[in-house]
Amino acid sequence: MNELAKELKAISMDDHIKETSPSKTVLAVKVDDLTVAYNYKPVLWDIDLEIPEGVLMAIVGPNGAGKSTLIKAILGILKPLAGSVTIYGKPYHKQRSLVAYVPQKGSVDWDFPTTALDVVMMGTYGSLGWIKRPGVKEKKAALEALEKVGMLPFKNRQISQLSGGQQQRIFLARALVQDASIYFMDEPFQGVDATTEIAIINILKELRKAGKTVIVVHHDLQTVPEYFDWVTFLNVKKIATGPVMDIFNDDNLTKTYGINYKVSVQK
């Protein structure tokens, strides 16, 4: 395990050395003093977070740590109690076209009467704006995205007839079709088989190679060093954020999860 981990670490170091050089760091997302509360009980407390452009970042933390809430607050889906968020220096509502969002798979009703292609087309709605309808161009983009995630043969399948992994690929295709600069994904690996997980992470790595910023709520700590080059530890408060090789260690894991952790990469 340790040998493998070292190897993986070496690979991921190679991958992100250029992105982390401080001289040309552009901030994709900046979160200042963000506090979010449900019924006056804070679920995120005074979060400061800077996400540099071009990283593939995992947000990790225990259940109820506010990982999904953080994404939703950044995207303006939840109204924060305090604090502010900027995307490339401007508020989110002015930068919508730069951002794609993949909600948790369980947050939608998969019995909804629609097809895989139609769900992917929804990704184009943002650039269309109100009232205007998707046309040939949007359909072509959606078909290309389906192709990329290997779901083209299923384009006319009703979404309830897809397996969990296929549904997640459809969601990913819908984000790809948005052709954004920043991708937020809420647990894209939840309930998917190993093949799909690899397919998804490969696409995410491709996105990063193309200079995109990808932010993923992630649960499987074992795969963090293998999949990601940047990580944020969250548990209501921000514990740490930075390159995986610098901060993914027992100390931060213990601070975040509250129990002694010995799974991480050895220094």
């Binding site: 019924n39 939703k72 995207l75 303006g76 889906i77 509502h93 919508r96 951002v99 969002y101 909600p103 947050s107 939608v108 009703d109 909804f112 009467p113 629609t114 097809t115 769900v119 929804m122 709605y125 943002g126 269309l128 704006g129 109100w130 009232i131 309808r133 998707p134 043969p153 299923f154 009703q158 309830s160 007839q161 397996s163 296929q166 819908r174 088989d193 093949t195």
Partner: protein
């Protein structure tokens, strides 16, 4: 058919269409009970509006009463947000309160108001043709026809304009919000349309039928299609069918039109619930039976594949070996023979090449759960249709 009969059917059909459109989205948003709440709680709005305008078909009355409907939704959400009770409880708290206020207001002012509780609950469709709209002395048709016609045109216009917004916010509110289509605005837009439609239809068909016309056609359509546009079309079709057939049922048995239309909605739903091709009760029972047989077949084929010794593959011993009764073994054996998956030589069963391939493929699928490989097997076998 005289002109009054025609007008009644026309009004009933337009009401059905106007209800089916918001109804489809209410059903998909799992908010069917909200339409019940709206239809009852607009009563005080109608009564107050009637005091002010003295005209049941006045646009002001309709807007005022529709506002009560939207307030109902807001109140329900407010109570729900406290986290003290669930949504259905919140609905159950709000609408009887508002409805009873309306009932008391009618009772206290019975002499001045041409409204009674019967009419409120069941409508007065039969009298609709007698309340005419005249412009400069010319009769241009029943008032309620114009009211519901106008509402329907606005509803259809909004549906066409905001179809994609309605779809995305119903399917995935999170994405909708992140794209800039506020789910809250769309939600209250839909609630406003539902309220206006309810008020407009209220006078003609009453509080109970409005709910039925919103929910039943959409529920029928939901069982038949996997396409939102088709679902809307089918809901409209079932609504109109029930409206017209209900009218003639009432004519035939000399009963309430509203009651007969509601009955027809129930009959149509029952029929579709039984006979819908893939989600219907009979289809489900048939499919379960087929699947049971096919799983047995697969078990049987796998047994043959795993055992080369003749003892295990002797026709007479098969039922012992896989622990089945004779009848079931016979059915499975026949099915396998019919599909050329086995051949029997001197009472020893052997897999054919086709049977062997099929078994490997099927096992592969079950182990990997990879769909692509078995696309072409799906037509022959229920088992893989999910």
């Amino acid at each position: 058919m005289n002109s009054a009969q025609f007008e009644i059917q026309l009004i009933a059909s337009l009401v059905a269409i106007a209800c089916a459109i918001p109804g489809t989205f209410l059903v998909l948003r799992k908010m069917a009970m909200i339409s019940d709440a709206i239809s009852h709680s607009i009563l005080p709005g109608i009564v107050v509006g009637f005091f002010i305008t003295q005209d049941l078909n006045s646009p002001w009355l309709i807007l005022l009463a529709a506002l009560t409907g939207v307030i109902t939704v807001a109140l329900v959400e407010r109570i729900q947000k406290t986290g003290l009770v669930k949504e259905d409880t919140a609905i159950g708290l709000v609408f009887p309160a508002l409805f009873s206020i309306g009932v008391i207001m009618i009772a206290k002012n019975a002499n001045d108001v041409h409204l009674d509780v019967d009419a409120v609950l069941l409508g007065e469709l039969a009298f609709a043709p007698f309340d005419r709209l005249t412009i400069g002395g010319t009769d241009i048709g029943p008032k309620s026809l114009w009211v519901i016609g106008t509402i329907l045109m606005v509803t259809v216009g909004l549906l066409i304009a905001f179809f994609k917004e309605l779809k995305v916010s119903t399917f995935d509110p999170g994405l909708s919000a992140s794209l800039g289509f506020s789910p809250l605005i769309i939600h209250y837009g839909l609630m406003t349309v539902s309220s206006v439609t309810t008020v407009g239809a209220f006078d003609a068909v009453g509080a109970i039928l409005v709910v039925a016309l919103m929910i039943a056609p959409a529920a029928c359509a939901y069982l038949l299609t996997t396409d939102l546009k088709k679902m809307l079309g089918l809901a409209v079709l079932f609504g109109v069918f029930s409206a017209i057939s209900g009218y003639w049922l009432a004519h035939w048995i000399d009963a309430s039109i509203a009651g007969s239309i509601t009955t027809m909605l129930g009959v149509v739903f029952l029929f579709i619930y039984l006979f819908a091709p893939s989600k219907g009760l009979i289809a489900v029972i048939y499919r379960d039976k087929q699947q049971r047989i096919e799983v047995s077949l697969l078990t049987f084929l796998l047994h043959l594949k795993n055992h080369t010794e003749e003892r295990e593959r002797h026709v007479n011993h098969l039922c012992e070996h896989i622990n089945w009764q004779k009848v079931r073994s016979q059915t499975v054996l026949d099915l396998a023979l019919k599909n050329n998956m086995i051949h029997i030589n001197k009472n020893i069963v052997t897999l054919t090449e086709k049977g062997d391939d099929f078994t490997s493929q099927a096992i592969d699928y079950i182990i990997t759960n990879e769909d692509a490989q078995i696309e072409d097997m799906k037509d022959d076998f229920f088992l893989f249709r999910g």
